[in-house]
Amino acid sequence: MITVYRYAMKYKWMIVIALFFMFIELIVELIQPLFIQQVIDNGIMINSIDNVIFYLLIMFAVSLIALFAGIFNTYFTSHLTNMFGYDLRLAIFKRVQNFTLATLSRFSTSSLITRMTQDVLQTEMLLFMSLRILLRAPLLVIGSLVMSFLVNPTLGLYLSMLTPILVIFLFFTARKGAQVFLRVQHWLDRINRFIQQNLEAVRLIKANDTGEYETGKFAKVAAKLRNDTIFALRLMESILPVLLLIMNGSLLLVLWVASDLLKTNEVAVGEIVAVINYALRMQGGFSMFAFLIIATSRAKASSDRISEILHAPVAVEDKNTYEPADSEGTVKFDKVSFKYPHTSRYVLKNVSFEIHDNENFVIMGGTGSGKSSLISLIPNMYDPTDGVVTVNGKNVLDWNTADLRQTIGYVPQRAVLFTGSIYDNLLWGNLHAEEDDVFMSSEKAQIHDNIMNFDETYETTVGQMGVTLSGGQKQRLSIARALVRKPSILILDDSTSALDVRTENNLWDALAGENVTRIVITQKISTAEQADRVLLLDDGEISALGSHEELLRTSALYREIYESQKKGGHLDD
């Protein structure tokens, strides 16, 4: 909890001010019974209307003071709570942005969402409530106790006798509560995740007509959430009855003892009345405690989840900026082995090769042979498990990551687009790109004409994942996005699979004139034929490396691939 609430320290002066106003409210609350005692003992008992009116006016005035104090308290608490929540959200989001993909894979998207919304909300609520009642509740309890001791020590003693039991009970409930709320939040994550998957798979589910099956599965998760929520809330709801029982018991004790004291004239009726009043106020204070405990339990669970993110490792602090030589684009793999974090199977084994500046380099290989994993090491999406990956003569681990990625234009296998206009999506490549550059890039990517045919051209809105675009359009947009960067190394991960032959040839022609090192993963021999060199991967190892003609001569596997395409041929050939 400390990690999380450290973020509130920025507003410590506001907290002090808010607490100050709360304190004023509290004082008013505490002195009110004193005045009623005065009205009875100094007014009615001695038949003085003047005194009664005097106290009446004072009570009225302090009520107004309390109101203003309360309103100011609300202003300050609302403000600082929201600032705190905002700061915390931003801190989490920034942290996540700095995660390596390895760290990111430890958290599901849905759980990150719940943490940034629901969990932050819970910690905000606790802060909000605290600044309004946290101090107030114990002060009300303690204050009432002290006052009742002052009014009559014996009665005060009996009033306080049972409170230790209550405090212990509250402590244990709070602890247990934090545990069960952790489970509740966990199930909320699962619900979120389940829905996220369903949204992504909406076509698959419809095509398979498995909506009912999915609903059945969802019902199970939702039932778990329901059951744990019921348990957690029931635990919390048990606080109030226990509290009532103990506090009312204390009141009963006071009445009993008071009747004894009255017999010996050790107490005035007004005193008894005041102590009874304090007892009721104490009860009010403890009920606030009940609320606080619920809020604390939830916030404890939530802040643990938030701390988990804030403590998760981020990418290593970046090294000094390194000015890359203009348009240089060389890549070197030196005895590189790689396995994905949290797995044990090596997907790349002792891979060594070099890619020259401006080379047209093609990577081929069977399904699951490690092609995509290999290229993901170049922009340092993952650290190699063994060996060294060098870009422009410098180990990728020594690069300033942003600079390294600045030199690379990467087109993933699966075209990922974001909600927004086409133009916005292209700017992901380079925020400061000129309009002309954007247009030129889309022209090279063979998508400009298509875009101009859309009704709103570049302002056309793309849905999440670009759902309304065709597969080929999505691929070309993501190629254009990479070109906007004016990279010195362009990486295409099988990104032309949905393109028809003419479009693809035009694309290669447009790229041929560029001063850029091209690293292209492909299944197509036709693409390999145009390459300077071809790297053939087989089960994570280099099977062959050389020009198309060389490989045809030396590599049986390459010949097999060649045959598989010549025999059937390819529509794109």
Binding site: F60, G365, G366, T367, Y410, F418
Partner: protein
């Protein structure tokens, strides 16, 4: 100072005086909406209503008991302490004890039952919402951010859940306590009661002031929460892209903007709703003052009409009188925020489900397909339709390849056939009947569709393959995987078929995903087979191996495939060449080659 209230801490006002005025004018409308929403929530409590009535009667008992306590205490002061008369005091104390014990018991039971009831209702609502989401058309999802929809399922429903738990009990308690205390107060002293009730008009005015503002603010808050959720979901899901383009700062900046929007609206919502307890506190203090002061004066001037005991009791009752009022207004606010959430949930429930008026529910399909003059656009603003006057026929058991440039409408044809979208004009017939006359299940259960972008669930590989046919045996799963050439790579995984696919891990390649989704299609026994670039990420050697299985699979079934590779295309009976949504050429390979048209060009390029 005025400046501070106009823009406290720099927070700009989100709702203006006009908004509130407008709000007031449309109040009747709003109340209707609110009533509607409440009524619908009520409908979800069907089956729980008897229990609810029981809880409400328990609440009445609890509330009465909490009135009895202070009443007895007052009696003790008046009848025993002041006259110093202690006979029978023990008995009264015992009655008091009994009432206290009973109070705790009923308080616990009512809360216990209510928690169960509200959570079951919430569960029903969630379940119903999810069920409905399964029936919404694809077009509904095309336009919406996933995270925003997720927010409705969690944030909005959670808001409702938290309110339901407390509101029913609080409302009843407040009303009963209010009536109870009011009666006792009247009985004790009508005059003091009247004086205490003076605070009610102040209360109503201030509560209206607040709810007029919080109502719209809550709606805004729920909406902005959804927007933030949507943004987080997209960015985190697409994190690889953010990283590789080093756009972390841009992501943070956009996030900042949305988080700020949420912060601003929450500030105002919290501020206004936070006023309620403060105002209540003041009213509480004032009524206390009235009772103490006026009671004191009355006690002195009227000689015994108002006793000291009455003042004591009244002081406590005045508190008990204002508390339910405070609770009611607090609840009103809570309910407003829950309604803001519920409305967003009902918005989805109100979206009409996919049309499914088909009367034909259990027809075994032979797989004859006919497109008759079909035209279709994804959006109304589109100038050129995606599919234009498309007509063709595919015989039962025939296989057809769709080819054409990207954006020619190939995928769209398949999606129309799977009824993801409805044609704007023209009709699509299966076995001579319009597909609209079939129930969706009837068609989809006999169609296998391998999608362009293979999707796998976060589940074991076995479960993923079995997704094609739920009752497939383990052996059938393995058989399908073998035929799809997925078996070998699956066996290299440590847990084999029981490997849980983690969506975020990269160790299953795109091509392997395609192999699994082909296995998933192989395991079904469909009358119609739709393959949309099913092997695009698979290497050609593996593809050749699968080819044979696919050909076997296509035999005897109507198959429509989209592919680029000639060997795949050559295996089909006929080829359709699409261009800009129109059918350009159709025929067997020889026919098309003889035609020397578009297909001929494509092959001989």
């Amino acid at each position: 100072m005025t400046n501070f209230f106009a823009r406290p801490f720099g927070h700009e006002r989100l709702i203006t005086k006009e908004d509130i005025g407008k709000n007031k004018r449309s109040n009747k409308n709003k109340a209707d909406n609110m009533g509607q929403t409440l009524k619908r929530i009520w409908q979800f409590m069907r089956g729980e209503r008897k229990r609810l009535y029981f809880i409400i009667s328990l609440v009445v008992v609890t509330s009465l008991l909490s009135i009895v306590g202070p009443f007895l205490v007052g009696r003790i002061v008046d009848y025993y302490f002041i006259p110093r008369e202690f006979d029978g005091l023990f008995r009264v104390l015992m009655i008091l004890l009994a009432s206290y014990v009973l109070l705790s018991a009923t308080t616990f039971i009512q809360a216990y039952l209510m928690v169960g009831l509200s959570q079951r209702t919430i569960y029903n609502l969630r379940h119903h919402l999810f069920e409905h989401m399964q029936e919404l058309p694809v077009t509904f999802y095309d336009k919406r951010q996933h995270g925003e929809l997720m927010s409705r399922m969690t944030n909005d429903i959670e808001t409702l859940s938290q309110t339901m738990n407390s509101s029913f009990i609080q409302f009843t308690t407040s009303i009963v306590t209010l009536l109870g205390t009011f009666s006792v107060m009247l009985y004790l002293s009508p005059l003091l009661t009247f004086l205490t009730a003076l605070i009610i008009p102040i209360l109503i005015v201030s509560v209206r002031f607040i709810t007029n503002r919080t109502g719209p603010l809550y709606k805004m808050r729920q909406r902005r929460t959804g927007e933030l959720n949507g943004y987080i979901e997209e960015i985190v899901s697409g994190q690889e892209i953010v990283k590789v383009f080093s756009q972390e700062e841009r992501a943070v900046r956009n996030f900042e903007m949305r988080a700020k929007n949420l912060r601003e609206v929450t500030f105002w919502a919290n501020l206004y709703s936070g006023f309620i307890p403060k105002i209540m506190n003041m009213l509480n203090n004032i009524s206390f003052t009235i009772v103490a002061g006026a009671g004191g004066i009355l006690a002195l001037t009227t000689n015994g009409i108002v006793t000291v005991g009455t003042i004591v009791v009244f002081a406590e009752y005045a508190r008990q009188f204002t508390r339910p009022l405070a609770d009611l207004s607090n609840q009103l606010n809570q309910v407003l925020s829950a309604i803001a959430g519920a409305e967003r949930v009902f918005q989805i429930l109100d979206t009409p489900a996919e049309a499914d008026e088909g009367k034909i529910t259990d027809k075994t399909l032979r797989g004859h397909i006919e497109f008759k003059d079909v035209t279709f656009s994804y959006s109304r603003e589109q100038q050129v339709p995606t599919i234009r006057n498309l007509s063709f026929e595919v015989a039962s058991g025939e296989s057809v390849a769709l080819i054409g440039a990207t954006g020619a409408g190939k995928t769209t044809v398949m999606q129309l056939l799977a009824r993801f979208y409805e044609a704007d004009s023209g009709s699509i017939l299966i076995d001579g009947e319009d597909i609209k006359d079939y129930s969706r299940t009837n068609i989809r259960s006999q169609t296998a569709f391998v999608l362009q972008d293979p999707y796998l669930f976060e589940a074991t590989i076995r479960e993923n393959i079995r997704y094609g046919r739920m009752n497939a045996t383990d052996d059938e799963v393995i058989e399908a995987a073998k035929v799809a050439n997925a078996h070998d790579f699956i066996m290299t995984l440590e847990q084999g078929y029981d490997t849980v696919l983690d969506l975020d891990e990269g160790f299953i390649s795109q091509g392997q995903k395609q192999l699994i989704s082909i296995a998933r299609a192989l395991i079904t026994d469909p009358a119609i087979l739709l393959l949309d670039e099913a092997t695009s990420s698979i290497d050609t050697i593996t593809e050749l191996k699968i080819q044979e299985s696919l050909e076997r699979l296509m035999k005897g079934r109507t198959s429509i495939i989209i592919a680029h590779r000639l060997n795949t295309i050559k295996a089909v009976d006929r080829i359709f060449v699409l261009e800009q949504g129109e059918l350009l050429e159709a025929g067997t390979e020889e026919e098309l080659l003889a035609l020397e048209g578009k297909y001929y060009d494509m092959v001989n390029q």
